[in-house]
């Protein structure tokens, strides 16, 4: 394509462990999802707070232009999209993070435009959540090498199925990250979701009861 494309086909070292776990198939889906979320958390922290600043700036422009979703016109979305471009352009920071947050913002606008998103009261959280999904997809899910044989000899199809199986846990974890990030105004203290497989110990339980 014009002037050459840059193709990313290798996972960063950061994501090697969850990738190998997914391939080996020994850990449960939940354990694999947690391993991915741990690395995603590290990755998001390394990318810094610019994503929060920008998510809030984009959210403010949505509130400014759209007060009532029922009265919104096509041209409002076009106007907002231009505004998003300007806000992201004016920010200082890594072009990569700026691109990911812009993609998240545009995805949010598309959801609003097509009625998949109807809540404009928690826009900054919604945009930041999409940003975290963009990081997950760009750095892990859609960066896994396209090769017929993966680590431990598993096929692309099996790996894809295992990745699909962890998606609900990833969504849940990202949701939690988003709440933390917006509440704390920082990515420094993102907390992992609780382990779903671990039940709280009931100290009054009669272990001998049949």
């Amino acid at each position: 394509m014009p002037d050459g494309d840059i193709v990313h086909s290798r996972l960063k070292r950061l994501y090697q462990k969850p990738y190998k776990w997914l391939c080996e198939g020994i850990a449960t889906s939940d354990e694999c999802a947690r391993a991915v979320l741990e690395k995603l958390k590290q990755d998001i922290k390394a990318k810094g707070d610019l994503s929060i600043v920008l998510a809030q700036a984009l959210a403010a422009s949505v509130t400014q232009i759209i007060s009532n979703l029922e009265e919104v016109r096509e041209s409002d979305f076009a106007k907002l999209s231009v505004e998003f471009d300007n806000l992201v352009r004016q920010a200082d920071g890594s072009p990569y993070v700026k691109e990911l947050i812009l993609r998240a913002g545009k995805g949010y606008l598309n959801d609003l435009r097509n009625g998949r998103e109807v809540d404009i009261t928690h826009t900054s959280e919604a945009i930041w959540r999409r940003y975290a999904h963009e990081v997950y997809e760009a750095e892990f899910k859609e960066r896994i090498p396209l090769t017929p044989k993966h680590h431990a000899g598993i096929t692309q199809e099996i790996l894809e199925k295992r990745i699909e199986a962890i998606q609900p846990s990833i969504d849940f974890g990202i949701q939690k990250f988003a709440q933390n990030a917006i509440r704390n105004q920082s990515v420094a203290r993102l907390s992992m979701p609780r382990r779903s497989s671990q039940e709280a110990i009931d100290l009054n339980e009669d272990l001998l009861a049949g």
Partner: protein, 476 residues
């Protein structure tokens, strides 16, 4: 000098006036505290052949601006992932009062950030020199016959196929083709393709080339990911069009390549060039209009065509010998065959020639040469994943509204293209959406028809792909 006040920028480039014998560029790399000098020249003597008797000084400024962008883009490494590169350019021009206007500066910086990812800041000083020889010559009469269309001429397959289609569709009109660059091989190819085509369309074609050359730059490492190339080409092409009395510059690029959507989500932003993206063309047109004070447009008549559709006319006329003269490769080799056959541009070329039933007489490394050490399947695999994505999105429904919703959910950037360019395309938004849906549908159908043939080229060279763990660790 102003180095102290420039600490915030990473690079400052101070240009001397770019005269006929060239001009000096002083480059300050602030973060490394280094200085260097490079010379650059532009041979615009072919602009003597024009229909405008006067050479407007604002057009000379447009040319200088293009040269400055070219030099900066080639000489400064610009990171697409890490810290944003800050570039400060100081350029003497004839009309600083126009180029320093905040509206022009805003358009220029915004365009260059969109196309390169870097932050550009310009300072235009008043040039005290007389200018290059060509702009000083006042012509008594036009020195070139009137032409109807000025188009960019890269020496690539799209340029050839687009021109051929335009020539056949518009049997009366004449064309001025414009080429530039700084590579002798590219010049030779542009000339060769032009000469091969000319006898079939006598009196309807002319070629103008304006080379840009570096000198004393051997010690300077060049930026390989040159993302402003398209902008430079268009700016110089616009100067050519203006001197030929035209207010429109055309370029011929298939819609798939022009829009250049990412193959997978691992690709972001400028991993895929925006050099001829519809929004780039719109922005460059606005910038030139602001500069010259009248409306100027940059148009791609093939935005809704696949590359194979562009080649259809060549195929119908059995012009099989023409495409091998052109080059598409993103990573040309010095040895023969020079086109790799496995980068995305080569693959799209093969796909287009196969789908349009043009005999592909081009020699590529894959499958004609020795198998290279690099992973030859990489781009093909990514392109096929994208085809599969398109299929899933377009098969979601038969209804255009739902198809568009599905397509833009994955690629929201398509909404921007429609929202911002439907008027210049002379369409309503629903019409434009349908055209884009049809473009991607056609592309998918074409791949379905030729995929075994394209993949066959690769399979004949691939013995065993290495296991993923051998090549998956990369530290960026």
């Amino acid at each position: 000098m102003e180095r102290q006040s420039r600490q915030g920028c990473e690079f400052t480039l101070l240009f001397e006036p770019i005269m006929s014998d060239g001009g000096n560029i002083r480059i300050y790399d602030h973060s490394r505290n280094r200085e260097s000098n490079v010379r650059i020249s532009i041979d615009d003597s072919e602009f003597r052949c024009r229909t405008q008797t006067r050479f407007p000084s604002i057009i000379a400024d447009l040319i200088d601006l293009a040269v400055a962008i070219h030099a900066t883009d080639r000489l400064i490494f610009q990171s697409l992932r890490q810290r944003q590169t800050q570039i400060h350019v100081v350029l003497p021009v004839r009309h600083p009062e126009i180029l320093n206007k905040s509206s022009f500066q805003e358009k220029l910086s915004s365009l260059l950030e969109y196309t390169t990812g870097s932050r550009w800041e310009f300072e235009f000083s008043k040039s005290v020199d007389l200018g290059r020889a060509v702009e000083l010559q006042l012509l008594l009469i036009p020195t070139a016959p009137q032409v109807d269309e000025v188009a960019l001429w890269s020496g690539g397959l799209d340029a050839l196929a687009g021109l051929y289609t335009r020539l056949k569709e518009n049997r009366e009109i004449s064309f001025k083709l414009f080429g530039t660059g700084s590579n002798d091989n590219v010049y030779a190819r542009q000339e060769q393709v032009f000469q091969a085509l000319r006898p079939s369309f006598l009196g309807r074609l002319s070629l103008c080339r304006v080379p840009i050359r570096f000198s004393e730059s051997n010690l300077h490492v060049k930026n390989k990911i040159s993302r402003a190339r398209g902008v430079v080409f268009i700016l110089l092409g616009a100067a050519c069009a203006y001197l030929m009395g035209q207010k429109v510059l055309r370029l011929y690029e298939n819609g798939i390549g022009a829009i250049n959507l990412p193959y997978r989500k691992s690709a972001t932003g400028l991993d895929h060039s925006r050099s001829v993206h519809p929004l780039t063309l719109l922005r460059v047109g606005d910038l030139i209009s602001e500069l010259i004070g009248e409306e100027f447009k940059v148009q791609n008549p093939f935005l809704f065509w696949t590359k194979a559709e562009m080649c259809q006319q060549l195929s119908e006329d059995a012009r099989h010998a023409l495409p091998p003269l052109t080059k598409s490769c993103d990573s040309p080799h010095r040895k023969q065959p020079s086109q790799c056959g496995y980068c995305s541009s080569c693959i799209l070329r093969k796909q287009a020639l196969a789908a349009s039933r043009l005999r592909d007489q081009t020699k590529y490394i894959v499958p004609h040469g020795t198998r290279p050490a690099s992973d030859i399947m990489l781009h093909l695999q990514h392109m096929l994943v994208q085809i599969s994505t398109f299929k899933g999105l377009l098969n979601y429904s038969e209804d255009a509204v739902s198809q568009w919703e599905s397509l833009t959910r994955r690629f929201p950037e398509l909404d921007d293209i429609v929202d911002r360019t439907y008027e210049v395309e002379g369409l309503t938004p629903p019409e434009m959406r349908k055209n884009l849906i049809r473009l991607y549908q056609t592309y998918v159908f074409e791949w379905d028809a030729v995929e075994p043939q394209i993949s066959g080229d690769f399979l004949s060279q691939v013995i065993d792909q290495p296991e993923s763990q051998n090549f998956q660790i990369a530290i960026q």
